[in-house]
């Protein structure tokens, strides 16, 4: 859409990219441990990260480039409904505060690297653990793909990659290069690379957002004018549906959707393997707790960022363009509003913001494959060094898979799969969080509940159409028995929970054989430095 390359912005973008690449490779020497061959080292950074490193790592991990592009894009498109991301992140931390410290403790005592490891140890069920692992890998792949979509949006606005008339190879060459570099340093440095790069990413993002929410409204005539323009846009009636295109505050009928989306997404957030990886990499239980109290700094940033969607409307981005790609709204807003050099910094923030989570996600998916498929089913006697080697190779394959997603599939498809990803990963909640508090649930009941949730959710989402697509067009549908419209993932979760409870009652009544529980009560409250940890099966980190 942009003709010609913005040279100043591109130069700055490339400079930052070169900087983080160098950091990525050097990261392998950062806090290096003696036993570099253990999967804990490559896949969890030696479980050694303190409060601040964890804060940057988790922030870099959870608030992705796609978030920066998609949340304001949704606001730009429909208004208030897109703002659910803010209550979602507000709810998330108090909620996970209750169970993440327990997950950290039990994982530390038993050397669990993935959530599926925990499920395996708690319920003694290979099947349930495999279900959790595959759900994690399945949900992560399109998420990585979306990070690439984020980079593509930036490159597009920068004018790199040729126009519509260049062939696909030239068009996607910059993306290939970015990805090859990312894959190389993730391979060599493991989780240390994104942890180090996250410092650059988060600093850039904070600077850009603060400048954007002060500078852009000044140029656009203040927030009053911005919201007026938005109200005007949303009141226009869509010819496709016969209803207004959006709204400035959520209407009566949309409140259930808003609340269930916020709650369901908050519950799903720390079920994602990459979030768990970030948590397990921290060095103590208290580090985890402290982080839940300081993570909202990122949520504030997200909230302010969401407002950029309104600013894009007021600035007339994409006005009158038929079928305008809303994902380009924020990059385009930056390019229109900022001087070129600052556009370069802003785009670097988004670009690096894609690299950090993509690295962590591929590591998390690789850990899942290695621990819960390879070691469990293919080579149970694998040594620690073999595990690490398999994980490194798996991280490459995961990225190739994600790249294929972006290049071969319709973008709309990746975005829809992301909606499905959240819905799917939420179905592991009962097994994981339930298991952290009680051993009451029966492993077979949990597996059945998971299956019901997955099938119901996928089937319901398949039936949602939107003007752009026939299937998987959204994430909300009528909740049976309530009659209101709500987040499908949440409805599926409730169904999953019901099935798990009812079947557990039945199976317990018939004395169905229970799996062996490796864990004991005290494991769930163990803290670094405790006696239990000194006897832990994992070599304690270098520090």
């Amino acid at each position: 859409m942009n003709h010609g390359v913005n040279v100043t912005a591109l130069t700055i973008f490339l400079l930052f990219f070169a900087l983080v690449t160098a950091m990525g490779f050097l990261a392998s020497r950062w806090r290096r441990a003696d036993n570099a061959q253990h999967l804990d080292e490559w896949g969890l950074g030696g479980r050694s990260f303190g409060t601040w490193v964890t804060w940057f790592l988790l922030g870099g991990d959870l608030y992705t480039a796609y978030t920066f592009v998609a949340v304001p894009a949704l606001i730009y498109g429909v208004g208030a409904a897109g703002f659910f991301a803010v209550p979602y992140t507000i709810i998330a931390y108090p909620l996970v505060f209750l169970f993440l410290p327990r997950l950290w403790s039990v994982s530390r005592v038993h050397g669990y690297v993935t959530p599926a490891d925990f499920v395996r140890g708690r319920y003694g069920s290979k099947g349930l653990s495999l279900a959790v692992a595959l759900t994690g890998i399945l949900a992560t792949m399109p998420y990585i793909a979306l990070q690439l979509v984020g980079i593509q949006a930036v490159l597009d606005v920068l004018g790199v990659g040729g126009g519509a008339n260049s062939n696909w190879f030239v068009k996607d060459l910059p993306l290939f290069l970015a990805f090859a570099v990312l894959a190389a340093y993730t391979y060599s440095s493991g989780l240390r690379a994104p942890a180090l790069i996250a410092f650059v990413k988060d600093t850039l993002v904070y600077i850009v957002i603060i400048v954007a929410v002060i500078y852009i409204p000044m140029r656009l005539g203040g927030y009053g004018h911005i919201f007026d323009s938005a109200a005007q846009k949303f009141s226009t009636v869509s010819p496709a549906t016969g209803k207004p295109v959006g709204s400035l505050v959520t209407g009566e009928s949309a409140q259930w959707t808003y609340a269930t989306l916020a709650l369901g997404s908050a519950m799903a957030l720390f079920m994602y393997p990459h979030s768990v990886t970030g948590v397990l990499a921290s060095k103590s239980r208290n580090t985890v707790r402290r982080n839940m109290a300081i993570m909202p700094a990122y949520s504030l940033m997200l909230g302010l960022l969401a407002l950029l969607g309104f600013m894009a409307i007021a600035a007339g981005v994409g006005k009158g363009v038929k079928g305008y790609n809303a994902q380009l709204a924020v990059p385009q807003l930056f390019a229109d509003m900022f001087p070129d050099w600052f556009t370069g910094i802003a785009f670097a923030a988004i670009g690096i913001g894609a690299l950090v989570p993509a690295a962590i996600m591929s590591i998390a998916a690789a850990n899942l494959f290695t621990r819960n498929v390879y070691k469990e089913f293919l080579k149970p006697d694998a040594t620690a060094a073999q595990e690490t080697q398999v994980a490194k190779i798996a991280s490459l394959l995961v990225k190739v898979g994600a790249l294929a997603f972006v290049l071969l599939m319709d973008k709309q498809f990746a975005i829809n799969l992301q909606l499905l990803g959240g819905l799917w990963i939420l179905q592991t909640f009962v097994s994981i969080v339930g298991g952290l508090f009680t051993r009451w649930f029966h492993r077979w009941a949990l597996l059945a509940g998971w299956a019901v949730g997955m099938v119901y959710g996928t089937w319901k989402a398949y039936g949602v159409s939107s003007p752009a697509t026939k299937h998987f067009g959204g994430s909300s549908a009528v909740i049976p028995g309530v009659g209101e419209i709500g987040y499908i993932g949440f409805t599926a979760f409730v169904l999953n929970l019901l099935v798990s409870v009812v079947l557990t009652l039945l199976l317990r009544a018939f004395n169905a054989p229970d799996g062996v529980d490796q864990t004991s009560r005290a494991d769930y409250s163990a803290e670094a430095g405790d006696k239990a940890l000194k006897d832990a099966p994992v070599p304690v980190a270098a520090h």
Binding site: A80, I90, Y93, Y223, L248, V249, A259, R289, P296
Partner: protein, 97 residues
């Protein structure tokens, strides 16, 4: 270091003599629950007025809850910190000395 409302058990008492439900834990639970309930109660904030600096109520109210939720979470953190210290002290005091 045991808090005033949680008495230190006598030596010989089994570890975990402090009951599962303590005032600290209850208060921490409430601290964590407040922001969740506030955000799920959508009908309490779906309105345009009163706006601040041109920003409708709906937006500034939710943005305000971000730092507010952090304050509540810090509160829960401090309460649980106190609770765990008391438990550790009790467990050590109760162990074979």
């Amino acid at each position: 270091m045991s808090s005033s409302e949680v008495p230190k058990p006598d030596t010989g008492a089994p570890p975990g003599a402090i009951p599962a439900v303590t005032p600290e834990r209850v208060l921490a639970g409430i601290c964590l629950l407040v922001p969740i309930v506030a955000m799920l109660w959508v009908s309490s904030y779906t309105k345009v007025t009163p706006g601040i600096g041109g920003m409708p109520f709906f937006y500034w109210y939710q943005l305000l809850w971000v730092p507010a939720s952090a304050v509540f979470t810090v509160g829960a953190y401090l309460l649980l910190q106190r609770d765990e210290k008391a438990r550790r002290a009790a467990a050590e005091g109760g162990g074979p000395a």
